[in-house]
Structure formats: structure tokens, C-alpha cells
């Protein structure tokens, strides 16, 4: 993408005026403005002289002072201890308790990292044995964003796919999980099950019953549950609700609640915060052996999360509340974003469902639409001649003709013979309109 952008900036003639990047789940990269409160707190933490001025509301100053008092030397430039700035770890713990009910988790079970993927890599490091005759395996969904799988492979682990069911709104099906596990046993030593909820790229949000089924499966088959819940704040469908794996686990009671080992990941990069550049994420570990947690401490201490990322997490976990001076603006900004994304979801369905050869399962949550594209034989032939996957070919044509940049389904995995495209919903509504129009055009012209 960057290469194309460079070519464009150098003035090479293309039919389009500018590249419309609707590929990545990068809200701020797409032009969405950051939340004012986060940036004010961060600026004050970095340059404490601002605390003496009238430029910032009192709750911003209070939060900044609180955070700075727990940083070494009262400065954001310093290293932080594990699991991070104590106040941030506490706030995350309280956030989890508010979300799930029950007692706040011990801060010793929460590890802050430079983004959820770092935390995931560290946990994979604990689980995966990547050498010798029998390597560890992790069941991973198809489709799935590619970073986790790459991390797993870089440790020498095996990824064993289980297919989500497109016809049923991309839901996870237990027969398929069972099939995948049986296959896994032949090629590796399966140790964990990786679940993304809400999904990426498909926008499915798991029901409580589905989560219970997965937990039972994990207990029975002795699998560690790796649950990527970074889009938990992004749920749009009216009759759908996000419920965390941890909450369901606790409600199921013993033997599940005190045996099933679970790691749940969250991040400041997604949702309304969208602070992907600041690098803040965390993992909460449930039912892990205390000795393993000690070792996890050592692993996490190698790469502490940057202080700005931790501060973003602090706002995620403990945002302004009703009555705080910053609340009205915060509420307005988050509402605006919610409204915009919901409108995008509606528009996506309207446009895509009206196009021949394109169909899209309902997007219940997450940041992406993942429609299926039925390409005519002519297109398949052309793609074959060019030595590329048919959906890559579609994306390339779209880019060349209209400047809209999306990603092909082959990068995430899909059933043989099916083709998909992924694009993000975290965009200004006008951008979505333009993109929609382009889809229509390219379809009419070529496919």
C-alpha cells in the first residue's frame, strides 16, 4: 500500500484521484479523530507544565497527576515495573470486574504489553514447543487475521485450522472443532484453542451458548483457551451482546470455573480509542499455575509496554464518568463514532446485497465486513493467467480502477473455491459511499 501511495505522490497517472485505504483496522489512520480526553491526559503526562495552566479540564489534570505519581521519578520517560504502572493495572482489574461482575482479578494476573499481539506471542511462548519430532499445535479459525498465525509459526508451532460456518453467519460449530482436533492429533500435539470474539475478519459475535460449548470442549480435551477479545467494544447489532469468556466461565461454576485455563486479550488499538500507534494492550490470565505466572512475569519483563500505551489503557479501563468535566465531550465523541460505524454497517449491507455476485453475512461486531464474491469463469481464468488468486485479482482491479484499497480473502483463509474481500468499517461515511460506488462500477464493467 505504501509503495502505491509513493507512486501516487510522485504523480504517476492513474484513473483515480487518491487512494482510498479501507483495508486496515486503523481508525486514526482512516482519519477518525482521537478522543480528546486521552490526548489531553497524555500530553499532560509528557509535559507536566501543562498541569499548571488553565488549558486542561480538572479531571484530566487529576488523572495525569495520579499516573505521574506512580511513575518512577514522576516521569513518563521512565521504565515501568511489571505489570505496568500500578494505577493502570488496578484500573484494568476494576474494569474487568465491572464488565463481568464478581471480584476484581488480582493485578498479578494482568500483564500489560505493547499491544495485544505481543502479549499473545509471550503466552504462545509458554505453551508452544517448536522443536523435535512432535511440535505443539494451536487450533486457529478460518478465516483469521494473519499475525497470530505468523507468530505461532515463528515459534515452530503448528496451526490447525477449523472453519467457521459462513452459511450460519460465520458461527463456530462444535462438529467442526471436533473434526479439527482429531486431525490435529495426527500432525502435532494440540495444546490450545484460539478464538476471536468478536471476529476478525468476519463480524460474528459469539452467543453465550456457543461460549459455553467451547469451554466444555476445552475442559474435556484439555486445551488452553486463547481468547482474543480486542473488539469487545465494537458490537452493533441490536439483539446481540458481547459477553466475555471469563464471565461465562465463572457462571458455569466448578469444575469449569476453577480448571479451564484461559488467557483473554484486549487492546487500546481498537474500538473508540483507536490508539494503535501508542501500543497498549493487556492479557488477563485465569486459572494458571502460580509457578507459570512467575515465569510469565520474566517473559513479560523483557518488553515493557510504552508509557503512552499504558496511559491509553488507563482511559480505556477508566473513562470519564457522568459528572466529570470531560464527560460531555467524551460521550459526544464516542457516540459520534458509534453512530458512524452503525451507519457504515447498514450501508455496507444495502450496497453489497444489491450487487450481483456479492453477498455479506450480517456484521454483528468487530471492525470489518467480509463479503463473499462470486467471480465469473472469465475472471477466474484471467487470474490464473496472471498467476494470482482470483480475489487478489479482484482487489487489484478495484485498486487500479478506482483507488479503493481492500484486502483479499485468501490472506485470511477461506473454503476452497470461495472468494472474499475484507474492508474496514472504521471510516468516515463519505469514504464508504465512494467505496460503495466503486464496487458498483467495477462490477458493472468487469465482472
Amino acid at each position: 500500500m505504501t509503495k502505491l501511495h509513493c507512486i501516487f505522490m510522485q504523480g504517476v497517472k492513474k484513473p483515480f484521484r487518491e487512494v482510498i485505504d479501507v483495508a486496515w483496522g486503523d481508525a486514526q489512520g482512516a482519519g477518525i479523530k482521537p478522543l480528546t480526553f486521552v490526548r489531553q491526559v497524555l500530553a499532560a503526562c509528557l509535559y507536566p507544565q501543562l498541569l499548571d495552566s488553565n488549558r486542561l479540564p480538572t479531571d484530566v489534570k487529576q488523572k495525569a497527576r495520579g499516573l505521574l505519581s506512580e511513575c518512577h521519578g514522576g516521569s513518563m520517560g521512565s521504565y515501568t515495573d511489571l505489570p505496568g504502572i500500578p494505577q493502570v493495572a488496578r484500573e484494568i482489574s476494576e474494569y474487568i470486574a465491572r464488565r463481568d461482575g464478581g471480584d476484581p482479578p488480582k493485578t498479578g494476573n494482568i500483564f500489560i504489553s505493547p499491544g495485544s499481539q505481543w502479549a499473545l506471542q509471550n503466552i504462545l511462548n509458554l505453551l508452544v514447543h517448536g522443536h523435535g519430532e512432535v511440535r505443539s499445535g494451536v487450533l486457529t479459525p478460518i478465516p483469521c487475521h494473519v499475525t497470530t498465525i505468523e507468530s505461532l509459526h515463528s515459534l515452530g508451532g503448528v496451526s490447525v485450522p477449523y472453519y467457521l460456518s459462513e452459511e450460519h453467519g460465520w458461527e463456530l460449530q462444535m462438529e467442526e472443532l471436533n473434526r479439527a482436533l482429531e486431525y490435529a492429533k495426527q500432525v502435532c500435539a494440540p495444546v490450545a484453542l484460539y478464538v476471536v470474539n468478536p471476529g476478525n475478519p468476519p463480524g460474528h459475535v459469539q452467543s453465550k451458548k456457543s461460549i459455553q460449548d467451547v469451554i466444555r470442549f476445552a475442559l474435556e480435551k484439555r486445551l488452553f483457551l486463547l481468547v482474543d477479545e480486542v473488539y469487545q467494544d465494537c458490537v452493533y447489532a441490536d439483539n446481540v451482546e458481547f459477553v466475555s469468556y471469563k464471565k461465562v466461565l465463572a457462571e458455569m461454576g466448578p469444575p469449569f470455573s476453577d480448571t479451564v485455563e484461559l488467557a483473554s486479550f484486549h487492546s487500546a488499538s481498537k474500538g473508540f480509542l483507536g490508539e494503535a500507534g501508542l501500543r497498549g494492550g493487556y492479557v488477563e490470565l485465569v486459572n494458571m499455575d502460580p509457578d507459570v505466572i512467575k515465569y510469565a512475569c520474566t517473559i513479560f519483563s523483557k518488553d515493557t509496554a510504552p508509557t503512552p500505551g499504558q496511559i491509553a489503557l488507563s482511559v480505556l479501563a477508566n473513562p470519564p464518568r457522568l459528572g466529570d468535566p470531560s464527560y460531555p465531550l467524551y460521550e459526544m465523541e464516542t457516540q459520534q463514532m458509534q453512530t458512524m460505524i452503525k451507519a457504515n454497517v447498514r450501508r455496507v449491507h444495502e450496497v453489497l446485497d444489491s450487487l450481483p455476485g456479492i453477498s455479506c453475512q450480517p456484521v454483528e461486531g468487530g471492525a470489518f465486513a467480509f463479503p463473499r464474491v462470486d467471480l465469473p469463469p472469465k475472471a477466474l481464468q484471467k487470474a490464473k493467467e496472471m498467476g494470482m488468486e482470483p480475489d487478489t485479482f479482484y482487489c487489484l482491479r478495484l485498486l487500479e480502477e478506482s483507488g479503493a484499497f481492500i484486502t483479499p480473502g485468501c490472506e485470511y483463509g477461506q473454503k476452497e473455491g470461495t472468494y472474499h474481500i475484507r474492508y474496514t468499517l472504521l471510516n468516515d461515511i463519505m469514504l464508504m459511499e465512494v467505496c460503495a460506488i466503486n464496487h458498483i462500477l467495477i462490477n458493472c464493467r468487469h465482472f
Binding site: 505504501t2 486503523d26 482519519g31 495552566s53 520517560g77 515463528s154 523483557k302 518488553d303
Partner: protein
């Protein structure tokens, strides 16, 4: 060591000498740096005269370099183009040798990536890395983590912890018996020794690494902290290119730098320059960095500020220069004074340092203490110092050093050291 720290955090730690973290020592960031960064974070601050003109201009330039003018956006995994370009220009200026931005990688974990790279071979024979003793305390753990064998080479204590070429030869030959040595790690200025290598020493190391076909991994993080009358920092790259095409065209190396030395450890960013690495491998490095997603943007911008400080004529120039000189002078004074004091203590001897931010004194512990320690006497000494005097220092790396000697790592960046406590 970590348990000593955690058990004692409730006590007021009066003096912490163990860490690289200059903020613990109440070191003030340069005003220019934090103003630029906070304006990038909260661009509203650019709207009036809160900050001087050069700060505002700099922040604008940096924001333009970020996607959609926000530090909250992902960047390419190898870093913002603007920052890579700035680093390339900095290196070119410093060494007088051209550097291409495509060989510069911004990351908060580039050393780990390089070690993983050399470890990722096939076969049963483990990969080895020649590592100095003493070395940075996090290095053995990082090597262990990536499944690489650490093959130590002793630095020469009696010559101020200089590199001993005989020792290097011995180490590589010993290594061949138990692993396949593929790289040599070196720190210049030394961490924790404070030794700054001279021209000849650097040439010797380059020749050695070339002859033994070892990738050179050189950590130059403390290049800003050299005490001029004692020594001069010259980069390995500069020397390499002075040695002519026989070496400069083929010798493979990676050099590392970071903003931790600027005092911004919390922002987590550094860069790596690759020299003479094949494009296919460079591409692979790029890919490996992708699993880290991207380096924190605030850290990337801090790198830019570090290598491109205010110039004469800029509004912030005088203040910035004064602040930097003050830090260097304090450090130099502290190190020299502390070294004197330590050398006057019974059972303690300390090599003078030429650079870096640490002292690495040797303490000969009495027999009873050694017997009393159930594990290592070094950490026991640190623990007692912590409990008795509320002073925290770091136990030294004891691997391979003569029995009965113990070293401790002390960082001397704090102002007005109350030396009598020791």
C-alpha cells in the same frame, strides 16, 4: 534479583543505582523533547504561543510524517519513512559514509529479531553467539529465550575491560566444540564496563569477525556518553569503511541505538542499521518485525528528536545545549568521584570509566559472607545493602569471572550523589 526488588518496594528506596532509568534519578527531560512530543500527541497545543516557534514547526513536520497526522495510527513495521530517513541522514553525517533508509529498521525489539534470525537454521547443532563478560544483564536471558547458546569471552579487567583478542580466539575455538558460532556481540561504549574502544581495537574485532565468518552485532546505545578527555567514540561502521573495500563491501554487521540513553526508556524505541546484509535477508527481517506490529509512534518521534536536535539559531538551541552539557558534566563528575571513593574502600576496586552510565566495581567479599549466602553471594550483598542502607544496586554478571570476586553494577547519572552512604 527481581525478588529483592519486589520484597523491598514497600521500604523507601533512598538511592537507586542499579537501573539505566535516568528518571529514577530525577533527571529532567530536555524541555524541547517533551514539548515536541506533547504537541504531537495533542495538536491543540500548536494553536497558540504555548511553545516556541521551532518546537511548533518540528511538531508539524513530524505530524505530517505520521499517517493522517496522528500518533495513534499504525506505522509500517519497520518504522515511519520520515524517521528512517532522518536516522539514515544522522548516520551519514556522523560517519561520513552514505547510509540508506532501507537499511534502517525502527523497532523496540530489533536485537531479538537479529538473534532469532541467526538461530533459525536447521539441524541439531545449536547456534552460538560470542558474548562479552561482563555484558548487559538482560542479554543472557534474551539469548536463552531465542534458544541460542551463549559463548562467553572475558574482557580484560586489568586494562579497563578492554577487548582481548587472544580471548576472542580462545572463545571461538571453544565454541566450535559445542555449538555453531554465527555471531559476536559487543557493546561500545561497554555496558556495564564503560570502556570505549579505540580505533585499533575496533579494527581487530572486525578482522576477527570477518576471518571467523561471524555476524557482528554491535550495541552503540551509549555513544552520546563519552568523556572526551578520556576517549572518543568512533562507530564500527566508520572504521569498517576506512578499512577499504575488502572489508567494507562484504563484512556483515548490525548496529543498534536507542532512546533509552536519551532518558526516554518509557517510550520504548530504538533503531538498527544493517550493513552488507543480503536483500533477501533484509526483507525477511522486515517480515519478522511485522509480528511486533509496529514500534510505538511516540518512541519513533523521540528517535527523530534525539538525532536531530535544535540547531544554532533555533529558539530552543541554547536551553537544549545547556541541558545536555549539564547531564554529561554531572555524569562525568559522578563517575570520577565515585570511582575515587570506591577505590579507597577496603576490599573494593573499580576501573575508571571512559563512557557509558555505569561503574562496575569489584568487591572481595569475606569468607563468612560467601558461606552465608545460600545461592550467590553477590545478590546477598545487594540485599543486605538494600535492607541496611536502602541503596539498590545491581549484582554483576558472575559467569566465568574468577571465584571469590563479585561485581556490582552502579548507575551514576543522579545529581549530588551522597557518596558517604557507601
Amino acid at each position: 534479583f527481581n525478588s529483592i526488588k519486589s520484597e523491598n518496594t514497600k521500604r523507601q528506596v533512598q538511592l537507586t543505582f542499579s537501573s539505566t532509568d535516568v528518571h529514577i534519578a530525577k533527571y529532567k527531560n530536555s524541555i524541547y523533547d517533551v514539548q515536541v512530543l506533547s504537541a504531537c500527541i495533542y495538536p491543540e497545543l500548536l494553536k497558540n504561543q504555548t511553545f516556541p516557534v521551532d518546537v511548533r514547526q518540528r511538531a508539524q513536520t513530524l505530524l505530517d510524517a505520521c499517517g493522517e497526522r496522528s500518533v495513534g495510527s499504525y506505522t509500517d513495521s519497520s518504522g515511519l519513512n520520515h524517521v528512517r530517513q532522518s536516522v539514515a541522514e544522522f548516520i551519514t553525517r556522523r560517519d561520513g559514509v552514505p547510509c540508506s533508509a532501507s537499511n534502517v529498521f525502527i523497532s523496540s525489539g530489533s536485537q531479538r529479531v537479529m538473534v532469532k534470525l541467526i538461530a533459525s537454521g536447521e539441524g541439531d547443532v545449536p547456534t552460538g553467539v560470542l558474548t562479552p563478560v561482563p555484558c548487559r544483564h538482560t542479554l543472557p536471558m534474551m539469548l536463552d529465550f531465542t534458544g541460542v547458546t551463549l559463548e562467553p569471552y572475558m574482557l580484560d579487567k586489568d586494562r579497563g575491560w578492554a577487548v582481548d583478542m587472544n580471548e576472542l580466539h580462545r572463545a571461538v575455538n571453544t565454541a566450535r566444540g559445542r555449538c555453531q558460532p554465527k555471531a559476536i556481540f559487543i557493546s561500545n561504549p561497554g555496558n556495564p564496563t564503560g570502556h570505549v574502544q579505540g580505533r585499533k581495537s575496533i579494527q581487530d574485532v572486525i578482522r576477527f569477525a570477518a576471518a571467523e565468518r561471524l555476524l557482528l552485532l554491535v550495541d552503540e546505545v551509549y555513544q552520546e556518553y563519552v568523556f572526551e578527555d578520556a576517549a572518543e567514540f568512533i562507530s564500527y561502521k566508520k572504521i569498517l569503511f576506512e578499512m577499504g573495500p575488502m572489508y567494507s563491501d562484504t563484512f556483515e554487521m548490525a548496529s543498534f541505538h536507542s532512546i533509552s540513553s536519551l532518558g526516554e526508556c518509557g517510550l520504548r524505541a530504538g533503531y538498527m542499521e544493517l550493513v552488507n546484509i543480503e536483500p533477501g535477508v533484509t526483507h525477511f527481517v522486515d517480515t519478522m518485525l511485522c509480528t511486533d506490529i509496529s514500534t510505538p509512534v511516540t518512541g519513533q518521534l523521540a528517535i527523530d528528536v534525539m538525532i536531530n536536535p535544535p540547531k544554532p539559531g533555533d529558539s530552543s538551541y541554547h536551553t537544549y545545549t545547556k541541558e545536555k552539557e549539564h547531564v554529561k558534566d554531572t555524569l562525568k563528575w559522578n563517575c570520577q568521584k565515585a570511582c575515587e571513593v570506591l577505590n579507597n574502600l577496603p576490599g573494593v576496586s573499580c576501573q575508571p570509566v571512559m563512557g557509558g552510565i555505569y561503574l562496575y566495581p569489584c568487591v572481595t567479599l569475606p569468607e563468612e559472607t560467601m558461606k552465608q549466602a545460600k545461592v550467590e553471594a553477590g545478590p546477598l550483598y545487594c540485599e543486605q545493602l538494600m535492607q541496611g542502607q536502602a541503596v539498590l544496586i545491581g549484582p554483576g554478571c558472575t559467569r566465568g569471572l574468577p571465584a571469590g570476586t563479585h561485581h556490582f553494577r552502579n548507575s551514576w547519572i543522579k545529581e549530588n550523589i551522597v557518596v558517604c552512604i557507601i
